[in-house]
């Protein structure tokens, strides 16, 4: 999707595009697969995986990417930003970590209504660096809110149950456990997800491009595992999420070909 969207951006067909960050996409997708349909997800900017897990129609995703006339947001949102009120997927926030406070609020409303479900928020390490975590976490702990926070990155803060990034099963299991605790009234859980191995950020810092590329390829492999996991968990619709991605890419390519053809016809 990223390569398609970035190519479209280079051709001037779409506007600002924020590429998916694999180290966040996998936890967001795997964590979403651990939730019940009525649970809210605040996935941050990497909403594609959760959207697919929650069965968002391909046509809707493609329309957003292409900002076609069928885009429900009428072209007002960034191409990669996905949300759905019906599917309980919140929009990404623009400010680092702002969605954590929003997720805590959604959890507060859930607790107020009793039985309103669990709220998941996925955030990057900048959320911690900007201090956006502590306030919402204090609120969630004070009220015993059904909140699951997945922090991706080298996060020394937050007494967290740590899992290894790239391992979708581990993230899924940790979130499932945390969600069960939350449903049982045991309050919030913070799950810190470390990048696999030495960490992509640290690899990038060395400018060892080969090592980064190799690490990213492993992550991509794990993305497939995440989708398989979602299918196995029964959360995803049929066909499988992986098929959704393949079909989506096909749909985007077909739309681009059609647009190109129209452009050629108009020109000549």
């Amino acid at each position: 999707m990223d390569s398609l969207a970035l190519a479209a951006q280079a051709r001037g067909e779409i506007g600002f595009y924020l590429p998916a960050e694999p180290t966040r996409v996998i936890p967001a997708t795997a964590a979403s697969a651990a939730l019940a349909p009525d649970d809210w997800i605040f996935p941050g900017p990497d909403g594609l995986g959760p959207a697919i897990v929650r069965g968002m129609p391909l046509a809707r995703i493609a329309a957003r990417m292409l900002r076609s006339a069928d885009d429900a947001a009428r072209g007002r949102a960034l191409p990669g930003f996905l949300w759905s009120r019906e599917r309980r997927i919140a929009p990404p926030s623009i400010q680092h970590g702002a969605s954590i406070a929003q997720a805590a609020g959604a959890a507060l409303e859930s607790a107020r209504r009793r039985g309103g479900g669990v709220v998941l928020v996925v955030a990057g390490e900048l959320a911690c660096a900007t201090g956006a975590l502590e306030g919402p976490l204090t609120l969630a702990r004070a009220h015993g809110l059904p909140l699951v926070v997945v922090l991706v990155g080298n996060v020394p803060a937050a007494k967290a149950e740590r899992v290894v990034a790239g391992c979708a099963l581990a993230v899924r299991d940790a979130v499932a456990h945390a969600a069960a605790r939350a449903r049982g009234g045991e309050g919030p859980t913070v799950i810190a997800v470390e990048p696999r191995g030495p960490g992509l950020d640290r690899l990038a810092a060395t400018f060892d491009r080969r090592a980064v590329a190799e690490a990213r390829s492993r992550v991509t492999t794990d993305a497939a595992a995440a989708f398989e996991l979602a299918r196995a968990s029964g959360v995803a619709h049929d066909p499988s999420p992986l098929d959704h991605v393949t079909a989506l890419e096909g749909a985007v390519r077909a739309a681009q070909r059609a647009r190109l053809a129209r452009s050629r016809d108009a020109g000549g």
């Binding site: 009120r85 929003q102 609020g105 409303e109």
Partner: protein, 324 residues
């Protein structure tokens, strides 16, 4: 229904109580809610509605952010901001998130969050607790900003804000909390509409919030001198009621703008620009702005509590009327 004789603080509380009783989705988030917030405005409201009033320790960024999340999940939150100065850390949530939600989702997502913002100018609260928030909020697309000048308007603004789908910031002049006035709960108020509170043919004073009472006093004193000075209460600061403003200027040919804010970059400048753009051909004199100085307010002494001055406002009106 007989009018109630309420203070503005009481009118705000009664409007909230009415809304709480009518709609289970309405909740209140604040600090020191056990005593009704910093000014005690909602004192006693927690007795019947304690389960819908949330004491949230933290800054207003947390409270506003949490309110957005609650709204996404179906609630209608009212956030009691501690003071206007405490808006500053909350601006990322207000400007970047809250105000944009309905627009960028093309209406799929709404967050009808109401921000109650006490503005302590004129209370002697000192330089760091008297921020004039008009300039921060009135230019934010997607955010409705209102400012009551009377208990009746305070009641009506709360009711109208909670009935809509847009986020609304209500700038509450703290110096008016104790001011009494008649309130008829059945009188509705439409956000986005200014109101002529004093008729006049020589000049119109365009005012809002605490400046409205000062403008009325200036108009009264002007009448004793044989001058017909009208007063237009903006009520809603964003979106401005351009029609009412331009109509009032067209009818009199002269305008003075009165607001308790520093002049530079303030709302008064926006109103003046609107008049220049839309009613230049009607003007018989330059538009003047009478407001606070471009300086912090001290915490003691005359300057700490003296807001707008009716004499200064009347002098400006007389100069404008006499201008050739």
């Amino acid at each position: 229904v007989a009018d109630h004789d309420w203070t503005m603080a009481r009118a705000i509380k009664e409007a909230l109580a009415h809304a709480f009783a009518a709609d289970d989705a309405i909740v209140l988030l604040g600090e020191e809610t056990y005593r009704g917030g910093l000014f005690g405005v909602t004192s006693g409201l927690d007795d019947p509605y304690i389960e819908r009033m949330f004491e949230i320790a933290g800054d207003d960024a947390l409270r506003v952010g949490a309110a957005i999340g609650m709204a996404l999940a179906g609630a209608k939150p009212v956030v009691e901001v501690l003071l206007s100065d405490h808006l500053l850390p909350a601006l990322p949530q207000i400007v970047g998130e809250l105000a944009n939600l309905r627009y960028f989702s093309a209406g799929e997502l709404v967050a009808p969050v109401v921000l109650r913002v006490p503005v302590a100018r004129g209370t002697g609260a000192g330089p760091r607790q008297t921020l004039a928030p008009e300039r921060l909020l009135a230019g934010v697309p997607g955010l409705v900003v209102a400012c009551p000048s009377s208990p009746q308007d305070a009641y009506g603004i709360i009711r109208a804000a909670l009935a809509g789908a847009d986020p609304v910031a209500i700038l509450e002049p703290a110096v008016l909390y104790g001011v009494r006035g008649a309130v008829d709960p059945d009188i509705g108020l439409e956000l986005g509409r200014a109101r002529r509170v004093v008729p006049g043919t020589d000049l119109v004073i365009v005012a809002w919030g605490a400046a409205v009472a000062v403008a009325r006093e200036a108009a009264r004193r002007g009448a004793e001198l044989g001058l017909s000075i009208g007063v237009l209460d903006l009520v809603t600061l964003a979106p401005l009621d351009a029609g009412a403003i331009l109509e009032a200027v067209a009818a009199t040919g002269r305008a003075v703008i009165a607001g308790d804010e520093p002049r530079t970059g303030g709302l008064g400048a926006e109103v003046a620009a609107m008049i220049a753009e839309g009613a230049l051909e009607y003007l018989r004199a330059p538009v003047l702005r009478i407001g606070g100085a471009d300086a912090p307010l001290p915490s003691t002494g005359e300057g700490s509590v003296r807001g707008l001055d009716a004499e200064a406002l009347l002098a400006a009106a007389r100069d404008t009327i006499a201008w050739r």
